[in-house]
Structure formats: C-alpha cells, structure tokens
C-alpha cells in the first residue's frame, strides 16, 4: 500500500513538473507586442501569423485605445514592466525612452542582421528611430509611416451645380486645395450648406485638448507660415521662432478655420471624432492621419469613389505634421532575442510589401520606390508626397511637458477664444523656457 502511495506521489509530481515545463516553454515561445488599438494594428495581427508560422513563436497583442495609449505605455516603461516585449511607440517618446534606457539600442543588431537604415525613408528614420536627433543611434525600426493629411468628399466636389456655384463665387474650380487660402474658401463654401437634405459643414479639424490633438492639427498651419521650434543654428533658442510672426499667422489662421468652418461642438475632436464626422456625412473635408485612409477607402458609406485624398496645403511652405511610430525592443523584456528576431523578420522587403498591402504603412524604400506604387492604393500618392514634407514635434525627454503646455496655450486661444495669438505663443515660449531650464538644457 505504502509503495503504491509513494508511486502515485512520484507520478503526480512528474505530471505536475511536466505541465509546468510545458507552460514555461509556451511562455518562452510567446512575444507580446504593444501598440495602439486602431486599424493598422489589426492588419499587423494578420501579418504576424507569418512570423509565427516561420519561427514557431506565438504572438500576443496588447492594444490600448489612443486616448490612453501614451499614459498606459509610458507608465509601463517607467515602472520597468515586463508586459511588452515589443513596443510600437510614438515618435516623440524616443528621447525619454533612449535616455532612460527603456529601449534596447539596435545598432549592433542592425549591423549583425544586415538591416540598413538607408533602406527606409530618411524622414521616418530621423523621426522614429534616432536619439539624439541627427545622430546614428537607433532605438527603433520605422514601423508605421504616417503624417497628417486630408480626405474629401470627391462625390460632392464632382457635382456640376456645386462646381458651377463655386466657380462663380471664387473664380476657381472646385478641386482639392493646393494652398491654405483655397482650403479656407472651400470649407466656407460647404459650411452650413444643405446636401441631400442634410446640413453639412466645411472641415473636421483636430481640436482635442487632453492629449495631443490640437497640437497635431495647429502645427500644420504654423509650419506652413514659417514657425520653427527653435533657432536651427542655436538649439533651444526659441524666442522669435515659436512666437515669431510666421507662427502667429499660422495660429491665427487655424483659429479662423475653427471659427468659420467646423461643425458645431467640434471643440474637443481628435482622430475618432473626425472620422465619425466624416463617415456620417457631416463634413466635406477631414483632417486625419493617413493611417486611417485605407479604412476610409473601404468604408461602405464614404469609401470607393466617394472619397479622395490630398496632402497638407501650402502656405509660405508646405509641411505636414509627422505621425507614425517605430518598433522597439523593451529593455525589461526577458525575451529580447525573440523580439529581435521579430524585428529582423519585419524588416524584410517582402514582409514590408505585405505590410503595405494589408493596410499598414511601410517606409521601406523597396516598397515606396517600386514602380506602380503610386497606383497601389488611392491614398498612395498622398502618402508619398506627405512623407517628403513631414516635420515632427519635440522628441525631448521632457516632451510630455512641452506638449501639454502647447495643448493648453493653443486650445485657450483657438477654442476658448481667450487672448491673442501673440499672447498665446509668448506664454508658450515662457512655458517651454521653464521646461528646458528645469531640464538643464537652458540656463
């Protein structure tokens, strides 16, 4: 009896050990990739099945809605959490993630794996991968090229009656605008117009207050009229640049657009709200990240021939706010080798091509430079054009402070209508100077 009992104990222990080992092995063969919850993330889930098939490594995904994405992921990094092995993080995080050692430096790995950063669009390498800017220290592989651009109701623009009326009023054809003045004229033309028995409005612009929305919107007009973050010859010298005449003109123009041409109550709108306004047929034009354009192309209400796309209009210059992200390996991951294997797989030109085909936005030159790329999707020409004119917000370790200061100052002027554009930007200069002093970058 005693022998049987001891045999049973030994057998149970063996089974338990076996189960534990299997579970540990499964754990070891699984990677968690963290990103924002949006259309391209779903495309990546599909694409990653190829990685699992080739490597045997299972992929788990942690997608966080945009409004909480930054806070959730930055908390994760700051607490040295092990939730994410791979992180597709915003371009502005690169400074703090590199400085604080949250991301693995990838230079050696790139050299060893034959990944050349010259194979990717230069603006995206600069924006998503390097820190300090201008150096060749890489902390991410460009994963999702993106910029702010516009969609418009091609079917409304094509209506003969509207075209004739617009021509009569402005002397111009009702075509996608090339300049900001043309944009404003078109937005005014559509504002409060009744189309198919429904009142419509000019444009859905970014006006969100809490995270980064209004900054991602207003920077486009500010860049267009000559705003610079700082003196190109003297870093962090911001006086006369962030609050110079060009910046003031750009900010004032954005407010005029907000006042004249957005739907009522469009005072706290970002990606989702703009998509809703556009898809529900409320607006003629929509500002949004290009990442949403594949979804719009296929949308049953506004997709197909109903929608067209255009890049940021020109002011004195033509510049667009950079969006997009790079993929990084999290330093606190226990599975760095497998994570690097994923990046190696992802960097292959054929996978990058499939990434583009699936609705992602590759920045690999083999994809962008391929003959016929411009015709590969209705938004492809806009993507190509935009990636050549992008400019990014600060990517400093203190970017969150810089961003929130701009959100508050700009929203106060554009939406709440308090003060003048000059006062708003003088206030911003003061806030940013304080931040850089606190950070030891200014004395």
């Amino acid at each position: 009896m005693k022998t049987i009992r001891s045999k049973l104990v030994v057998a149970s222990l063996a089974v338990a050990t076996g189960l534990l080992a299997t579970s540990a092995q499964a754990q070891q063969k699984q990677l968690t990739l963290c990103w924002a919850a949006w259309d391209p993330a779903n495309a990546l889930v599909e694409l990653s099945k190829d990685f699992t098939a080739k490597s045997g490594i299972q992929m788990k995904f942690e997608f966080v809605p945009w409004p909480n994405f930054a806070q959730r992921m930055l908390n994760e990094l700051n607490s040295k959490g092990k939730l994410c092995d791979l992180l597709i993080g915003d371009s502005q995080w690169i400074g703090s993630a590199a400085t604080e050692g949250h991301y693995v430096r990838l230079n050696e790995f790139f050299d060893k794996s034959g990944i050349r950063m010259s194979d990717f669009a230069p603006a995206t390498v600069e924006g998503y991968s390097t820190w300090p800017k201008g150096s060749k220290n890489y902390y991410a592989l460009p994963a999702m090229g993106d910029a702010v651009a516009f969609t418009y109701r091609k079917d409304w623009f094509a209506r003969p009656d509207l075209r004739a009326e617009f021509k009569q009023k402005t002397g111009r054809e009702l075509d996608p605008p090339k300049t900001w003045d043309e944009f404003k004229a078109i937005a005014q033309f559509f504002q409060n117009r009744v189309i198919d028995g429904k009142k419509v409005y000019g444009a859905a612009l970014y006006t969100e207050r809490g995270s980064e929305g209004i900054t991602m919107g207003v920077s486009n007009t500010m860049y267009a009229y000559g705003m610079e973050y700082d003196n190109p010859k003297k870093p962090y010298d911001m006086k006369g640049f962030i609050n110079g005449p060009g910046a003031v003109k750009g900010l004032k123009f954005y407010k005029e657009l907000y006042d004249c041409c957005t739907p009522p109550g469009h005072s706290n709108a970002y990606m989702t709200e703009n998509l809703d306004a556009y898809k529900s047929g409320q607006v003629a034009m929509q500002m949004n990240f290009i990442a949403f354009f594949p979804g719009i192309s296929k949308d049953p209400q506004v997709g197909g021939e109903k929608s067209g796309f255009f890049a940021m209009p020109k002011g004195d210059k033509q510049l667009a706010q950079l969006g997009g992200q790079g993929i990084s390996v999290v330093k606190y991951s226990d599975k760095q080798e497998a994570a690097l294997e994923y990046i190696k797989w992802f960097a292959q030109p054929n996978i990058q091509q499939r990434w583009w085909d699936a609705g992602g936005a590759s920045t690999h030159m083999a994809v962008l430079g391929k003959p016929g790329f411009e015709k590969s999707a209705p938004y492809a020409p806009v993507y190509l054009e935009s990636m050549k004119i992008v400019k990014d917000f600060w990517a400093e370790p203190a970017y969150a402070q810089l961003l929130l200061a701009m959100q508050s100052r700009v929203h106060n002027y554009v939406v709440a209508g308090k003060g003048t554009p000059q006062e708003a930007l003088d206030g911003l200069l003061k806030d940013w100077t304080d931040v850089f002093k606190e950070d030891g970058k200014l004395k």
Partner: protein
C-alpha cells in the same frame, strides 16, 4: 477569572487588544501615513517618476515657492473656487427647496422622493459622459430644450470659454442637489412640532416661522451639507474630466485635474507633491473652519 484565563494562555488584556488593533494600525500606516510622509518628502526634492536615472536632489522649499508663484496654479484655483461657490450655493438652494416640498405629505410622495435621488446614485464618470452628449450642439437635448424655450440653439456649452464653467456647475448641481436635499430633509424632520405649535399660538406668519424656527433648526444640517460638498468638490475629478477634460483651454481645469496632469502626464513628481500638500492643507483648513462653525451653531 478572565485575568487568570488569559494569563494561562500567555496573553494579557492589553496584548489581546493590540492583537486586534494591530492589523488596522499596520494598514493605516502602510496606506495612509506612509504615503503622506513620503509625499511630504518628495515635495522637497526634484524627483521625477519617469526619469529614475536622474539624481534626486533636495531642493528645500523651491517646489512650494514655484507652485505659489505659478500663474497657472492660481488660474486653476480660481476655476475651483468658481465651481465650488456656485455649485454649493445652487445645491443648497435647490436641495433646501426640494426638502421643504418633500417634507409635506402628498400623493406619490415616495415615487418622487426616489426619483429625485436617482442622479446621486450614478457614477460621476457616467454622468459626465452622458451630459457631454446632452450638451452636444447638433443633437443634444440641452440645446434642443433651450431652443424650445425660445433661446438660441447653435451655442456650444462645452466649447465656449464663458459657458463651460457653468456647464460643470450645472451638471454637479443636477447630480448632488438630491444629496443635499436628503440631509436637509433629515434636519426638517428632526424639528419638534411643538415649536411650530408655539409659533402658531403667537400668530407668527409663515415667513416668521421659517425664519425663526425652520432655518435656525436646520442650520447645523446646512453647515454639514456645505462641509461635505465643499470637501467633495474641492477634489472633484471624474465628472469634470469626462465632461470637459479641463477645457476649453484650461478654463475648467480644476485643482485636482491640474494635480493629475502634473503628477502623471508631465511627471513632475516633486512639484506635484508640493501642490498635493498645499491642496491637502487647504481642504483641512477649510474643514476645520466649517467644523468650528458647526460647533458654534449647535451651541446656540
């Protein structure tokens, strides 16, 4: 007998008492006292939770000086004061009015009592979210009703710098006036009927009865309601965060929202700790004044 029993088991009454109290004391120390002391310590440093590699330096009172000299902080304090004063005033007036109505017996009294209490049973974040839709200019019921009453329809309650501070006051009043009503109703029900009988014998008018009997007798409850609502509204976060997110600009950015931004979005931990301590002392001071006043009212 007891002593001998416990002595036999090696535990004195005192030790036994400690044994029961100790878990609570430990929890209190761990979750209340230690974080408070740690926050006080952090408020004297330049610590930033998102920059663990930076040296943590002792900066003396500089965080406190910066908070008190920060124009933005005073702006947030002003927004908080506006919200606090108006929401409490309206809640007391409406709550008292409702309590006076419900203090009389009428048909469907119970139904109305329960219906009026419904808003305070909802979660503040939920209230903030659905009022955001009510205030939506294109399809919201609020603009529709204002339009029906002959007012303008095309205004933006949450996006307008002048209207948004009133939007948060309105929603908070809608939610919490029933709570004030409940407190004051308890006060009204505790007034002995013989006081009104004596007043009637003296041929006192309705106004005199209200002014000389009802109001003085309910005053301690009013002070209590003011105290509770002031403490709650000083740290109001979820409702306003959902409704306006502090906007437009920073017009409805109350002290609590600003504290959260400093601590968990800008990651200025030392500065945010100093701000938290200043807010804590303000609430504590305000509560002390209210409690003193309550004592004085009760002694009268």
């Amino acid at each position: 007998m007891n002593t001998s029993l416990t002595a036999r088991h090696g535990l004195s009454d005192r030790a036994l008492a400690w044994m029961f109290v100790l878990p609570t004391v430990i929890l209190l120390l761990a979750f209340n006292i230690f974080p408070l002391l740690w926050t006080i310590y952090l408020s004297f440093t330049n610590f930033r939770a998102n920059r663990p590699n930076l040296d943590v330096d002792w900066v003396g009172f500089s965080n406190y000086t910066r908070v008190l000299n920060d124009e933005a902080v005073w702006g947030h304090m002003q927004a908080t004061a506006h919200f606090l004063c108006w929401s409490i005033t309206l809640q007391i007036l409406i709550g008292f009015g409702l309590a006076l109505l419900l203090n009389r017996r009428f048909r469907s009294h119970s139904f109305w009592s329960t219906a009026i209490l419904l808003p305070m049973m909802l979660a503040p974040a939920v209230v903030g979210t659905f009022w955001k839709y009510f205030f939506e200019p294109q399809y919201g019921i609020f603009n529709y009703i204002v339009g029906l009453l002959g007012g303008p329809k095309d205004f933006t309650m949450l996006g307008d710098g002048d209207l948004s501070p009133w939007a948060i006051v309105l929603v908070d009043t809608w939610m919490w006036a029933p709570y004030v009503m409940l407190l004051l109703l308890a006060g009204l029900r505790s007034i002995p009927p013989y006081l009104y009988e004596a007043a009637e014998i003296d041929r006192a008018s309705e106004w005199t009865k209200f002014w000389r009997v009802t109001l003085p007798m309910v005053m301690p409850f009013i002070v209590l309601a003011v105290l509770f609502r002031a403490i709650e509204n000083f740290k109001m976060f979820d409702l306003v965060d959902q409704l306006t997110n502090g906007g437009p600009g920073s017009i409805t950015e109350l002290a609590s929202i600003s504290l959260k931004r400093e601590a968990f979005e800008k990651w200025r931990t030392g500065y945010a700790s100093a701000l938290a301590i200043i807010l804590f002392v303000s609430i504590y001071g305000m509560s002390m004044v209210a409690v003193r006043f309550l004592d004085r009212v009760k002694q009268r």
